[in-house]
Symmetry: C2
Subunit: 217 residues, 2 copies
């Protein structure tokens, strides 16, 4: 028995992965977990590419690495504005992010979640703000996959920086016209402990009672 | 112990809910599960409004009901094109959807997940396709909340049709300018069994081996 609350409360972003391959039965359970997720109209408009060849992993790493170091410049500026304890934590995340960018091709597996917006009813597509609802039929599966990875003792982290060069990613993985890339998840057994305590805001800070801004208690 | 795979594999869309209130400790665990979810840069750019007053639930029902019946017209047309067994299932979903639309105000609780795109780095915002990545920092929390609801014996279903009248929803729940509404989740103890087997595509249909279109086996 794998307690669901224990898994949720220890699902850390793990960016340091051993190169050891993931057994097929373990990968099967991770993919099955994703397949169980609810999607709009039960359309399951997503697919996941399980990338394991050196060549394609290298191609993804070659796309991700410059995107990360460009992004990290802005991240460094944000760090300077943080209080000391938060800045220290953010600096450790920066180092872990650098490690991931430098070693992405060494992960045994990289999951790439893709989706076809034509298979979705995206109810906020025409609003005067950035659309986000399409993600509702994909990140439910992504979260299930990450929780299953945690359950199986695998480390993982949800990344989206590859979207900054989506066309190159699509060429590298032969993703057809019309499909979008939503999540890139390096997956492998952790170097070191991997899972453990997470830092999150309290329920009191995140939940409201009956109307926005009213503290839930 | 609540086995994570058992919860994932029996998380059905439950649209028929008893009006019985949800105890505070149960709701706390559902909200805590949401709070544990990973988000981009650990920014947790979402909030959840726990709607329980008759007045505000009625306001949401008044928005949702006409949106559902407009949407259902297109759904009926899709049903006509399905093979007999799928059409039968779709017709049952239509009836359950009608039930939800007619009884939404009777649910003891309605969760409304909102998010501030200003707190996110949405990497696909400038691509020549509908953006979906913003959902990656919200639906992870939504999925955790629904899995926790299942674990606690509650029924729920993820709906997004309220976005068709987002401005009215924002007025009803006093959601400030700049915040987006991403998921409305009626929550309550199920009428009847609630949870149980789900119909999903197989892993073989959803996962690819190293490149798009190559069956994973």
């Amino acid at each position: 028995m794998n307690d669901i609350y224990e898994m949720m409360s220890t699902l850390r972003a793990v960016r340091r992965l051993l190169p050891d391959p993931i057994p097929d039965d373990v990968m099967d359970r991770v993919l099955q977990a994703a397949a169980w997720a609810p999607t709009g109209g039960n359309m399951q408009p997503w697919r996941v590419i399980v990338v394991t060849s050196s060549e394609r992993k290298q191609a993804l790493a070659d796309i991700y690495k410059p995107a990360w170091y460009r992004y990290a410049k802005g991240y460094d500026k944000r760090i300077e504005q943080l209080p000391a304890d938060e800045a220290e934590k953010a600096r450790r995340n920066r180092v872990a992010g650098d490690y991931l960018a430098d070693h992405l091709h060494e992960a045994p597996t990289i999951l790439m979640f893709v989706a076809d917006p034509q298979m979705m009813a995206i109810t906020d597509a025409k609003l005067d703000r950035v659309s986000m609802v399409g993600g509702g039929s994909v990140y439910t599966a992504v979260q299930n996959a990450m929780l299953a990875a945690r359950t199986e003792g695998l480390g993982c982290v949800l990344t989206t920086l590859h979207c900054l060069a989506e066309q190159e990613v699509k060429e590298a993985l032969e993703i057809p016209e019309g499909w979008a890339t939503l999540a890139m998840i390096p997956l492998g057994y952790p170097i070191g402990s991997g899972h453990g305590p997470i830092t999150r805001q309290s329920v009191t800070a995140l939940a409201f009672d009956d109307a926005f801004g009213v503290t839930w208690s």
